[in-house]
Subunit: 398 residues, 2 copies
């Protein structure tokens, strides 16, 4: 049992963890500012003045986090102790009831030509409604000894869950990551994956038959085969009653993996503000997730990322009105527009509570936070600070 | 397998690690500056402006590194996982072909009087040529079941390698670290060292016979008995193609231990600059080592150490002309002239690359770097930063 699990106690104090996905950034030009340093964030800046600030690395110095491990670190779970496959995140994201031994895989509906070569890995980015229709058509897939469920996620993305004896996630992706070539044959990456590879091969073959005359989506690509790992809940580890307010399915997925309740049906920051208020009395840990800082970073759109940060700043007063006892603002990793991808650069954070020692950071940004009270710390430590500053960790030893 | 080993990928980006041995220093008087703070370093200062700066401790806070572990940390190998005996470093430094099970020991040629008491632990610092002659004389040593090779290193220093069954490095030094007393008897520090202790005793006895009439060197002191450990190469761990440009044998030795190519025949910074340029297309990791900052520190010569730092500053433009993608400048430990020895004080570093967040450090020095972006980090982390900032680490997790 971890030391935090040994010491955690329940009380009435409320913690909010606000995550701007891919928050950390870089200057676009020498001598320039990062996205967060550029953004006009009067609310965050005022908070920073009354907060302890620092930088955190979710997976340690220099390592670039995927979305799931970045969030696991923020939830206080060592990401290397809990490797999470993409298929499981997708299945949990749509609240599909997986059990131990089930295998989930992400599905992209895709287009292929008469020779079987992939012409579009996303089938022209079909809308979610079309994706749902296709998933319905795949109900006729029948594989001996295996139950297959294919469910829509978003746009061209779906998830397939396979239930049956002797399945394993030791199967490589079939997505060739390129067009003009055939999808890869599902291959076992270890002996125990042999049966699942065979099942996946049969699945793809039947899908190709069923979707033969469908346009533009007439095939599927499979990625991130994954089994459900055993993960102790935040309730068990921290004695928290946690809830997630996220728009995107994957972040609902990682939240469900650690046992959070998830408020469904949220599309905007306004929805999230409203849901926060409505659920304020029911929970003591609120995970609020904003996706678009990451999306704009991935697009390489510096100004749009700045603008997303400013939107979150404008949303903050509705959160502050609820008077959380502890508020953490940070990101799950960096997604600098300069790189158009996730990166390993440290992520700024602030933590606001009553019993803290505010530093002299007056603007919430990467370099100001580097001079904050905490310097550089592992991302995993934030939950310990939150529990500590809300009196939820009792003393260790006599 | 370490996380970095799992994530490392090959690309064309070039990394330079410039090590000024024993770089870190101390003020000689209250209120004074360190050697590096005193040195006029216009090139390093200009670099610092465009870099991320910090302090690093190779072996953790407060621990004084020897040369080998200090470098191992910089190469990203936890020095406590890979304890390297001095004998092995010496043997690798002269490129002596050691194999698993062989035992190497450093040899000092020394002087002793008719009572057997040591009168000079360095035999008047005989030149390398004399040392080579003496080593030649020791070819007549014959020990049953053991092959002994004694090779010159530099000045009064040589290395002995013992090959045979049942040898072990569990033998204590014979150097008494004082004059006017006898050399110590080779003692096993554990049961498996018994045979090697006996072999070493026989070796010293035969050497004393052979050198009976030699002056001033008429005996040997043995230090750092060591077996060749198994060390994964930098090529395996990081997918790098590394090369070392070092003048001193020991630093070639530590480089060979991690599988670096070594450019031989370099004597000056000018040689190193020329070799860098000539080999620029062949490698993607360049370890450039400057010894004399450490030597001057050991001598207690503050001004001479300052001057060595300034020489390296003057050398830097030839390196910068090559446009390395990532440049790290640091030391393997501190050797303050004030202490005339290695010390555990943190070592300043700067890291220069395109995708960084330059801090406001404008002079490369201990206390300016303490206010840099990174604060205090383990020395082992530098290689992760270098790999990360050159795009050589892929993302972890979905």
């Amino acid at each position: 049992m971890s030391i935090v699990e040994q010491l955690a106690i329940k009380n009435e104090k409320k913690i909010v963890l606000l995550v701007m996905d891919g928050l950390g950034g870089l200057p676009m030009t020498k001598g320039g500012k990062t996205e967060l340093e550029t953004a006009k964030t009067p609310v965050m800046d005022a908070l920073a003045v009354e907060s302890e600030c620092g930088l955190q690395t979710p997976l340690g110095i220099g390592v670039t986090p995927g979305s799931a491990p970045g969030h696991f670190a923020l939830f206080g779970y060592n990401p290397f102790d809990y490797p999470i496959g993409r298929g499981v995140v997708a299945a949990m994201g749509i609240n599909f009831p997986m059990k131990a031994g089930d295998v989930a895989a992400r599905i992209n509906f895709a287009s292929r030509d008469e020779n079987g070569n992939i012409t579009d890995r996303r089938a022209g980015r079909i809308p979610t409604e079309k994706c749902a229709e296709l998933c319905d058509m795949l109900k006729s897939v029948h594989i001996e000894g295996v139950t297959v469920s294919v469910k829509p996620v978003k746009d061209y993305r779906a998830v397939a869950v396979f239930k049956g004896e002797g399945l394993s996630d030791k199967v490589a992706d079939t997505d060739p990551q390129a067009t003009g070539v055939k999808a890869l044959d599902p291959k076992a990456t270890a002996e125990e994956g042999n049966r699942m590879a065979k099942v996946a091969r049969e699945f793809v073959s039947q899908v190709n038959g069923i979707l033969k005359n469908s346009k533009p989506a007439n095939t599927v690509l499979m990625r991130g085969f994954a089994e459900l790992p055993h993960i102790p809940s935040m309730a068990k580890r921290y004695k928290l009653t946690p809830v997630a307010l996220a728009v995107y399915p994957d972040y609902k997925g990682v939240s469900r993996l650690v046992g959070m309740d998830v408020i469904d049906g949220l599309s905007t920051l306004e929805d999230q503000a409203k849901a926060l208020k409505e659920n304020w009395d029911k929970y003591d840990f609120f995970f609020v997730h904003h996706k678009y800082t990451d999306s704009k970073g991935e697009d390489g759109n510096f100004n749009a990322k700045v603008s997303e940060i400013e939107k979150v700043d404008a949303f903050l007063p509705s959160l502050l009105n609820l008077n959380p006892d502890v508020l953490i603002i940070t990101g799950d990793h960096s997604t600098p527009a300069f790189l158009k991808s996730h990166s390993g650069h440290p992520v700024p954070f602030l933590i606001h509570a009553d019993d803290i020692r505010p530093d002299d950071v007056t603007h919430f940004g990467e370099r100001p936070c580097a001079k904050g009270l905490w310097g550089n710390i592992p991302g995993e430590m934030l939950i310990r600070l939150a529990l500590s500053y809300s009196g939820k960790l009792k003393k260790y030893g006599a």
